[in-house]
Amino acid sequence: MLLRTFLSSLLPVALAASALAAPADLLAIRVGRAETVSHGAIEHAVLLIEDGRIVTIGADLPVERGIPVLERPEWTVMPGLVLPYSRLGLDGRAGAEFTPEVSPAAEVLPRISDYRDALELGITTIGLYPPGNGVPGQAIAIRPKGDTLEEMLIKEGAYLKVYFRADARSKKMVKDAWAKVDEYDDKVKKAKEKWTKDQEKSKSAKKPAEGEKKDEEKPADKPAEKSGDAGKGAAKGFVPPPPDDKVRPFLRVRDGKLLPLVSISQAADWAHWLDAIGERKFDFALRVVMQRELDLYYVLEEVAKRKCTLVMEPEITYQIATMRQRNLPAEFAAAGSRIVLIPRGEDLDSHAAWRVDVGDLVKNGLERKTALDALTLAGASVMGLEKDYGSLEKGKVANLLFLDGDPFEPATKVMAVMLDGEFVHGEVRQ
């Protein structure tokens, strides 16, 4: 290792995508500008990368002697793009009506070239969702590189995909799903009462040890609390009956551990979705299917009030029955919602045009800061990965996209891409 450091400081070593420095190596990168997303832009930024993570980032930081430095003052670095909503590389298997437990992991073909193409465009994190109407299942988060699914997989249960439309079937589906949750809660409550009674009967304290972990899943709502009051001290060893596969995801939704991503396509869908969920309080994000004409401008305030993140394409739409252009992503952002912008399609061209499409919205009034967030951190946040991905911050995974200029300019080219601290694309000579 010493030798290697010595060599690299003496003579320039070409690091091709295949021959990389070991991830344990320290590497300093000095660039003209860093778009951190979380803390604005840093001019003359220095990033220190170790073990696949960002150790430090700051302006004009001194670099200790012996640490290799990549000097690229003409480059701009930003976090690798996060595409949380995609079917890239998956076959078109249609999902069933109500299968909240399904994951698309089985569909992933690890070596498919689509992933490499995406990676070369700077897309370093992808959320893959299961197809189908209704509640087709849960998304997975992957890194677009690896020989096996295990190597690619970042997270299972990234979010729960829900397809909702203003019709009787969709509303019934949502109501039924929650009715099942209530049913399960009742079951737990009864089991617990019974358990408490049994416990009091036989005062012999026999506590099953494996109960501890499952206790987490135990609903913490009012009926459970009430029954908990009766025998609080003894409640520790209680093992709730295991929930049904179709109920478990919704229990996680209720407990804030799984985020439903609800697909809607018009303002009426939103109104009926609110009607369907009624008084239930849980977080959810919205997937807005962009069409030429979209009447979602009616619900800007309401959506913002609910603090929903919106996943949408960077498209200018028209006010219904008019030729009035509306920049809905910008309008939602201005109203206070967080937005995630995804490519217009699944093909290479759409992915290549992604940044520039977002740039068009910026030219039409979307805040630049919001646009950068929409390409990276907001998407990571939808998948529950904001702690490790989506911005240039100390401690985050070193997924970096190096550009030769402003991210939103059409002429800007990708110079290099770093995934987990390794350069996976671009000719990088130190």
Binding site: R165, A166, D167, A168, R169, S170, K171, Q266, A267, A268, D269, A271, H272, D275, D295, Y298, V299, Q319, I320, A321, T322, R324
Partner: protein, 473 residues
Amino acid sequence: MRSAAWLFALAPLLAGDVFAQEGGGEPPAGGEGDAAGADAPKDEGEWFAVVGGDVYTGTGAVLRGATVLARGGVIREIGHEVEIPEDAKRLDATGLSVYPGLVALNVRGVANRLGAGDYADSFDPYSQNLVLALAAGITTVSEGSVALKLKRGEVKGVVMRERFLSTLGYSTSAPRSKGELDEKFAAAAAYLRRYRDWEEQKKTNKELKEPPARGVDPSIRAILENRTLARFNATTRTDLLGIARLAQKHKFRPVIEGAVEAWTVADELGRAGAYAVVVPRSRRDKSEELVRPGGSSIENAAILHKSGVQVAIQASSTFIDLGGIAGRDILHLPIEAGFAVRGGLPEQAALEGITIVPARILGVDHRVGSLEVGKDCDLILLDGDLLHYQSLVQYTVVDGKLVYEKDKELYYAHIRPRPSTQPADAPEARRDKGEEEVKASDSEGEDKPEDKPEEKPEEKPEEKPSDGASDEG
């Protein structure tokens, strides 16, 4: 002090109002206010006041410069010295005429359904046609067999009543079905007599069995029990006469749509207590073979009204129709009513024909169709007389919420914008204001000098010159 507050809380409705208003103004009274709220759970929701308009209640009364006060979507008070709570939303109606929201029968495509199933599950509360209907002053419609409230941006409480009308076929050209209908009514009536006898006898003899309802048409039974109304579609004199006699014989009130030649048998229909749904502009030639009067008459509605028939007015087109001959679709309901007035119908009856009478036909007159205390706060504000073709709906209120404001609506803001909403800094607007003061007594009365000037539609400046020009000319 505390006991005094309790007295207030337990006092009847009006006193309750006063208390609630005071409570709104004085935060320290909050504790007692909560107690009052628990006692009277109906005292909930937002206050909404339409202040200073000429209120046409639809019951015959006109209150000039009056206030309509609503809470939670229900009218609480109408009058001149109404105390308005401080937290009430106010709508300045100075110079405007306030009418009950219009009720349009048999429309299509206004309350859009987006998918299969019930209106409650797939009503589009943002559809363009909904906005157009609200702009025309329509707040309640019947589509299919459902009475719907045109709520904007809300999906709860849209369906007001389902299947209140049951349609029956009656035609003199099909004598057999005509006879069968008569028999059905007779059978149902006989059954009801048996049923009532049984109810009486049951009090003394509990063993007695309920009379069998076999062979009794349930919809006819419902009509005779006044649970639904019988709807007919009839045009000719003979059919209308037959329906009138059938209704008199079996003692039910028919709703007759079409009713073109009804003026020739108006007295019989009046005796039958019929409702007529007419299209005043519909035309039908007299049959040349007959000597007796026939064909359409512009006086149809007027004659029917004079004979005691309740006349509802319907537009000739059942949907929003922007092609063809203008002014015949449901967006021009008041114009259609205006034609009935041209034929001699009193203006009050014409107003009722597009408000309370259709509401009765739909079985929702306890909630909409007129402005009365306890009814839904569905009202429209116009810059002139409702039946005048130049009047425009300026505001529409449904359930005590402003759902349409002409000057802010993309399609309507540019049409004769109200001068007061012109931007204050535009020199053109200032000149308009000067003129407007001189013309303040103008019969059109569309001017409202002190409106909220802070908000205005974007395209307003473009429209200004044409407005100025028309004012000068």
